[in-house]
């Protein structure tokens, strides 16, 4: 039984909230514009891909598990490991935060149970609009993660913590006397997979001691990935959107939409491949400036009126111009991607380049699906911006979607969006 388009839309709207909820730990630390839960999930999924490949784990479960492991936080909020134990007094609270959680075994079990129950209840609410099949799939992934009942579940639990530690070091620097002391303690308590233990050693050697280490390549790559948490999408910047969405936030939504909708498709699709193509889509922009299709035209605009006119519709040009622009963009992106993935082992590089080629050529069912999900996700974001700001023009996005979407699942969702956001 498939999920109705309106219900799918409800799910995607609620999951998009993860793109605006900041991670609690960084808020407490006073970090300016801290990462969102979605941005954290985005990089955890990359951890799953790159480190999971070294660990020889089943990627078809690992990646979606990493992507969706925080869905419950839409309603449960971002519960830190200090859940329910922090004193009210700010000074006392800071003292507790300087060290990892120190509790009796019994208290840990009670809190763990309480957290699990709250999160399970929240997750049930998040998944409620979806078909029983999708609910079962997402719930089983989350249970595996939460209970550590599989190698993949244990691995995601551990990389969740390692990614947070790395983010902490990136925010605060490798300081010996910061909140990170507690984070290191907590991470070393939980991480037991040999690949992740080696990765932690590399973090220590490279970032604290500036010494060469075994997994320098993987660390460099994953830190490069982290840059997308701070890169806003150009299409929103040129439209003066307040707090434009970052590339990491977008990629999270794109990957989630593509993966969920792949279960609703009429044909069997390689979901692992789809997820990977989604993840890679914007990666080159950690180094390469993102160019919007409107940039060339905007450079020629002399007045605000001309600018408004250009931005008020989708790109109009000859087939030849479109092809030339597309080829030029592809070559630039591919070249940059090669540089970014150069530190990884050759098999992973090969896989990533072939994913890039596949979605660039748009010839396989998976590529078409990924590319149409990309357009649809952006259309949804545009509708959300239009709802917040009456001056935001939805027209170009609708035009783009009208020429790009031919898959029936996406077409139904597009119509559901039109109805949901239609101005009365």
């Amino acid at each position: 039984m498939k999920t109705e388009a309106n219900d799918l839309l409800s799910f995607f709207l609620s999951s998009s909230l993860l793109k605006s909820i900041p991670r609690t730990g960084w808020v407490w630390e006073g970090i300016e514009n801290p990462e969102t839960i979605a941005e954290h999930c985005f990089r955890v999924t990359f951890f799953a891909w790159v480190l999971g490949a070294k660990a020889n784990l089943q990627q078809s479960r690992l990646l979606p598990m990493a992507l969706t492991h925080e869905l419950c936080e839409i309603h449960a909020g971002d519960m830190t490991p200090y859940f329910d134990i922090l004193p009210e007094d700010e000074e006392e609270k800071q003292k507790v935060l300087q060290r990892w959680v120190r509790l009796s075994q019994k208290k840990k079990e009670i809190l763990s149970r309480k957290k699990f129950d709250l999160e399970k209840k929240a997750l049930d609410r998040v998944l409620d609009p979806l078909s029983p099949l999708l609910q079962e799939r997402l719930l089983s992934l989350w249970m595996e993660y939460e209970k550590g009942s599989s190698l993949e579940g244990k691995f995601v639990k551990q990389i969740d913590r390692v990614e947070a530690l790395l983010q902490g070091i990136e925010y605060l620097g490798p300081k010996p006397d910061s909140i990170l002391v507690g984070w290191w303690e907590g991470t070393e308590e939980i991480v037991d997979h040999p690949i992740l233990r080696a990765f932690l050693k590399t973090i220590e050697h490279r970032l604290y001691e500036n010494k060469a280490s075994d997994m320098d390549g993987e660390l460099a790559f994953l830190m490069e990935v982290g840059k997308l948490k701070r890169r806003p999408r150009r299409g929103w910047v040129i439209r003066d959107v307040q707090n434009p969405e970052t590339m990491a936030n977008h990629t999270f939504s794109h990957a989630l939409m593509a993966w969920i909708l792949s279960w609703e498709a009429e044909i069997v699709l390689n979901r692992d491949r789809i997820l990977k193509m989604c993840l890679l889509r914007l990666l080159c922009h950690s180094r390469l400036e993102e160019e919007s299709p409107f940039d060339n035209l905007l450079r020629k605009a002399k007045t605000q009126e001309e600018r408004r006119h250009i931005l008020g519709k989708w790109i109009r040009s000859s087939s030849r111009e479109k092809r030339v622009r597309n080829e030029k963009r592809y070559l630039e992106e591919e070249k940059t991607l090669r540089q970014i993935i150069a530190p990884l082992d050759s098999l992973l590089q090969e896989e990533m380049l072939s994913c890039k080629k596949e979605y660039g050529e748009n010839k396989t069912s998976e590529a078409r699906f990924t590319n149409q999900a990309y357009v649809l996700e952006i259309l949804l974001r545009a509708f959300q911006y239009a709802e917040e700001d009456t001056n935001f023009d939805i027209k170009p996005w609708w035009e783009w979607a009208s020429e790009s979407i031919d898959n029936s699942v996406f077409a139904k969702l597009m119509n559901a969006m039109d109805k949901r956001f239609a101005k009365t």
Binding site: I315, R316, S318, S319, R325, E361, K363, W398, S402
Partner: protein, 156 residues
């Protein structure tokens, strides 16, 4: 229920045929060379599970290609009488009535569509509106805000 047709250019058809042949060869190799031991039950053999999953995907791909080849319709230049209207394979020049800007699309089947290169699917909302239109006719793309184009030129 009418079965879905797959419109392909000659080049597209050759590509699908080659892919199909490659998949069949790959299946033969996978079932002969790569099959892991199934002496252990599938509960404890993750390698077997991955292998089964790979095979399932492979079979699905082969079936997909066979379905396409069974229902293919070749896109070719239409008869002289039909060349004044938009058919599969047409490259259409459109003028936006509001500001006279020109847009161009080539209308192809879903398997060869690539909107970023101006190749749109006949099954997309724009593609559906274009098919059958003649030079001078108006094409209306319905949306939260309507877009009206006039067909300026059609070529094959």
């Amino acid at each position: 229920m009418e079965e879905k047709k797959y419109y392909l250019t000659k080049e597209g058809l050759d590509r699908v045929q080659k892919e199909h042949n490659d998949l069949l060869a790959f299946r033969k190799k996978k079932t002969m060379d790569d099959a892991p031991s199934i002496l252990q039950s599938e509960d404890v053999n993750p390698e077997y599970l991955v292998y089964q999953e790979d095979l399932h995907l492979l079979e699905a791909k082969i079936a997909e290609h066979e379905n396409i080849l069974k229902h293919v319709e070749l896109i070719s230049k239409p008869a002289k009488g039909k060349r004044l209207e938009v058919c599969m394979g047409a490259t259409v020049e459109l003028v936006d009535e509001s500001d006279k800007s020109v847009n161009e699309y080539t209308v192809l089947g879903t398997l060869e569509a690539n909107p970023m290169e101006g190749k749109i699917s006949s099954e997309s909302p724009v593609g559906k509106q274009l098919l059958g239109k003649k030079i001078g006719e108006i094409v209306v793309i319905n949306s939260p805000i309507e877009v009206k184009y006039r067909v300026q030129n059609i070529r094959y």
